[in-house]
């Protein structure tokens, strides 16, 4: 039997509100529904039709009591012989014989054969009490199982005596303080064939095995539990090689520790679209898109990134086998096989139609508890078939469980159409913290992949539609081309970019030409300026020369005038 998950109650812990002492069954999930376990020191009735797992429930209760909680037990079988019982439960991992030899368990087979019994007067069932008492004393039992006590009704004709004795037996069990599980076959119109529920009124549990659409689901319901609150719904459970496991259904409140740690998506471009640089640890991410948009590839990137951080991951694949996924993502440069070999990654591949929804859920639940991954990928959730309400409820519980375990969950979902009114996505989106939509854009005779973030709770994020390509080295987000014609993708983007490049080149050429032209004109003007300046200089020189000449002339004139005057004055 797998031990209890760490976040649930153990044998001794009970909710503070309960006054009723309880004995844990050690069946994960079941104890949560019972808010601790079965009532200590009282008989509980487990009833159901043939093949519901009544005996297995009872054996598990005893074996867990003996191995996990140190409470020895007595199994009194009215149907199966001790050897058969041991062989039957051995296939589910219980070593009954070993426990018997260790003195932790006593098994007594009570054979009731009507044909061998002749009734000759008054009698009582003291012999049964003696046997039970002896077996209880021999191992110091705290727990007993009577499986199925109603067989007595076929062995004795005096039902009045029988009923009186059963009443006495249950009183005796209470007096001895034994926690008892009594199994009963489902009868017409009542819980058990002979109305055992009349006598055992402390705790009644009903098992059911229903077939809907050729898929069988086992369910359990607590019909009553005197003196204690309990989960009231029908809860699915699973019986397989490791015994019984149940999925504790959505706890009453949404109350769990949250992490502020951010984990990378494994794709640089996608990280950049989220302000935090990734998703919060323990959050749930929905990846929805039409066929061939690379949902599995993106999920693989996420897993690879987690493995690189040394975290454990679990990949629940419902459409591809582990080998196929490993091979396919190798084409984008991811080597998941290596992660598997390193023990960091575990694939669990199963066909969706293999079990019912609940069964899948219970199986995933158990696997997660076993492997304790920090990242879980479910690829794809759209593979689950069933009424939308049921799928929704199932996934809600899965999301809830992963969150309470602090596991980051990535769910991929295949969309049929590109329209937004897709039922599955709509119903699930409210459960998810982040939602990435992958889309196909068909234009100009080609198909391009784009993605955008619809939401990412607790983190601002890019509102851009981004194109991405799958390259040899992984998924690559391409910077968006946003121009006057809107967002362009693929070759349209390339040709637009080429056009822009050409325009830029042309502009550059124009600018050069203009620059050269202005240079030329500047030089011409400068040349003109120089010429003018030379002319000016020449003219200035000329003027200066004339001036000098004039001055010299003046000097000569004045000298002549003096000479003339002298001459005139001397002669006269």
């Amino acid at each position: 039997m797998p031990p209890q998950p760490a976040n649930t109650g153990s044998a001794t812990t009970q909710p503070a509100t309960t006054v009723l002492p309880k004995s844990a069954t050690g069946i994960s999930g079941f104890d949560e529904i019972l808010l601790g376990g079965l009532p200590t020191g009282r008989p509980s009735l487990i009833c159901g039709a043939a093949g519901c797992g009544k005996t297995l429930f009872a054996v598990t209760f005893l074996v867990n009591g003996a191995t996990l909680f140190g409470e020895p037990g007595v199994f009194m079988s009215f149907e199966e012989r001790a050897e058969d019982l041991a062989a039957n439960v051995a296939s589910l991992g219980c070593d009954l014989d070993g426990l018997v030899q260790a003195g932790k368990l006593a098994v007594d087979h009570v054979r009731v054969e009507r044909s061998e019994i002749e009734e000759t007067g008054q009698y009582d069932l003291e012999g049964l009490f003696v046997r039970l008492g002896y077996a209880v004393d021999s191992v110091g039992a705290k727990r007993i199982v009577l499986d199925t006590i109603e067989s007595l009704f076929s062995g004795f004709s005096d039902t009045a005596i029988l009923r009186a004795e059963l009443r006495r037996l249950f009183a005796w069990i209470k007096d001895r303080g034994l926690t008892a599980v009594i199994t009963g076959e489902r009868g017409d119109g009542q819980l058990t064939r002979h109305g055992l529920e009349e006598y055992i009124s402390d705790c009644v549990i009903l098992l059911d095995n229903r077939v809907i659409d050729q898929i069988t689901t086992r369910r359990l319901r607590v019909v009553k539990y005197r003196g204690s609150a309990h989960g009231t719904n029908e809860y699915p459970f699973l019986i397989d090689a490791s015994g019984i496991s149940m999925l504790p259904v959505t706890s009453s409140g949404i109350d769990r520790p949250v992490s502020n740690e951010v984990v990378s998506t494994g794709i640089a471009g996608l990280d950049a679209m989220l302000r935090n640089g990734g998703f919060y640890r323990g959050s749930s991410i929905l990846l929805s898109g039409v066929a061939g948009t690379g949902k599995t590839t993106i999920a693989s990137h996420f897993i690879d990134a987690a493995c690189r951080r040394g975290e454990r991951c679990m990949f629940f694949a419902f459409e591809e086998s582990a080998e196929e996924i490993c091979r396919n993502v190798r084409s984008v440069g991811l080597d998941l096989r290596r992660r598997v070999d390193a023990g960091l990654l575990r694939f669990e591949a199963a066909r969706p139609s293999l079990y019912g929804l609940e069964m899948h859920l219970a199986r995933m639940h158990r696997d997660v508890l076993e492997f304790r991954p920090s990242v879980v990928v479910i690829d794809p959730i759209s593979a689950f078939r069933g009424p939308i309400a049921e799928v929704h409820a199932t996934l809600l519980r899965m999301v809830d469980f992963l969150k309470s375990a602090g596991v980051t969950g990535m769910f991929t979902s295949l969309r049929i159409s590109s329209s937004l009114n897709d039922g599955t996505d709509q119903a699930l989106s409210s459960l998810m913290d982040s939602w990435i939509r992958l889309m196909d854009l068909e234009a100009n005779g080609e198909r391009n992949r784009v993605l955008y973030l619809i939401k990412s709770r607790g983190s601002s994020h890019s509102n851009q539609v981004r194109e991405y390509r799958m390259t040899d080295s992984g998924i690559e987000l391409i910077d968006p081309y946003v121009g006057p014609d809107g967002v362009l993708t693929g070759t349209a983007r390339l040709s637009q970019e080429a056009r822009e490049l050409a325009a830029a080149e042309r502009r550059r050429r124009d600018i050069g030409q203009r620059r050269r032209e202005s240079e030329r004109r500047r030089r011409a003007l400068e040349r003109q300026i120089n010429e003018l300046r030379a002319t000016l200089d020449a003219e200035q020189d000329e003027a200066h020369a004339l001036l000098l000449e004039d001055e010299a002339h003046d000097v000569v004139l004045s000298r002549d005038r003096v000479a003339i005057a002298e001459r005139r004055g001397g002669a006269e």
Binding site: E118, E119, V130
Partner: protein, 113 residues
């Protein structure tokens, strides 16, 4: 695990079904009125119909609780016919003599008036 058949002892040597020897074992729980009545009824029937060829062993389960599982005892008093074979179980205080005789195969069912 307790065996389905008792292994603590068996019928006395030499006694088998051919000789018509009856080896009976009466299981009771304490000295209640019902167990005393059963013992008395058994003695009377045996003396009347099986004089000299019967042996009775009385087992008080309150003193030997371990023996209850061996003969698959549920009801008390239970009379077990260990010999002649096959094994027969007769429950009750043996007050209905006719049924006791039928149960022990001393008288056929059809003979019951």
């Amino acid at each position: 695990m307790m065996p389905d058949t008792a292994d603590f002892d068996d019928a006395p040597a030499g006694a088998d079904s051919d000789t018509g020897y009856y080896y009976l074992r009466l299981y009771v729980a304490g000295h209640t009125g019902r167990s005393i009545a059963a013992m008395n009824n058994l003695r009377r029937v045996c003396e009347t119909h099986l004089a000299g060829r019967y042996e009775i062993e009385v087992i008080d389960l309150l003193q030997n609780p371990r023996l209850a599982a061996g003969d698959q005892i549920l009801a008390v008093p239970t009379l077990v016919r260990r010999l002649p074979t096959p094994l027969k179980r007769i429950i009750g205080d043996l007050s209905n003599t006719e049924r006791v005789l039928v149960g022990l195969d001393i008288r056929q069912k059809a003979d019951v008036p």
